[in-house]
Symmetry: C2
């Protein structure tokens, strides 16, 4: 089970924007530098995030990116989904229903895991990550 760096990059970058993008747009280069991400690669991620409405961009000199909506209304789950990093633990692809019982006795397990993770990440917003930088959200209300 693996969380790729794409997902981590995306979330880190969004938190970065939450912190530094209050007054004016932030350019890719600045975020990339602060977060230690390849600028070209980060740009590709921003593309996806923008297309999902999580980012708003301004072109031209002094342009850059800002969050598409308030920090309290962007969840970690939103961000991961936008960059194609949401979890689907099931093999069958579909979150429910599986023809072969003998082979898919574990289907329910993976579907449950998927929901469990989704519930967790869907309950954490950028606001939490911004104001509580290091503290681990251990005792967060789980769905």
């Amino acid at each position: 089970m693996r969380l790729t760096s794409r997902g981590r990059y995306a979330v880190s970058a969004m938190v970065d924007l939450a912190r530094h993008g209050a007054d004016e747009p932030v350019c890719v280069a600045a975020v990339a530098r602060r977060q230690g991400i390849s600028p070209a690669y980060l740009e590709r991620l921003f593309r996806q995030l923008r297309q999902q409405g999580l980012l708003h961009s301004t072109r031209g000199a002094r342009g850059g990116y800002r969050l598409g909506r308030g920090v309290a209304r962007i969840t970690v789950s939103d961000v991961l989904s936008a960059v194609g990093e949401s979890l689907d633990a099931t093999a069958c692809g579909s979150p429910d229903g599986c023809r072969d019982d003998e082979r898919c006795g574990t289907h329910g397990l993976w579907a449950g895991l998927t929901r469990h993770v989704e519930g967790y990440l869907g309950a954490i917003t950028l606001a939490e990550l911004d104001t509580q930088p290091v503290a681990a959200p251990t005792t967060l209300k789980s769905a």
Copy 2:
């Protein structure tokens, strides 16, 4: 976020053994056939599971594998760990402590996620999967 088929294979195979290995050892070929897994590949997985004590093997004709201990004392987490599929969502590698605040504001998030998933998968044993083949363990007590 991705669960590789290695993890799914391992769990499916263990459930298969729980069902068919009550009386006598089950050979790799039989499990592979039932679960639709490449026999050679499954054998490699069984190697790992045995080395972790989750399986017990009998060599020679009519030999095969059996569970290393009771179904109620083998969790999904055990199985995934044995085949190297346990989740560590943190980038830093260490479940806690991170030097760079600016870059690792999300560290706590991933550490929390790791614990959350671990708690879920650590609470489900092969016994549950065996007796409740298809039903999704949605409302399971989460750690």
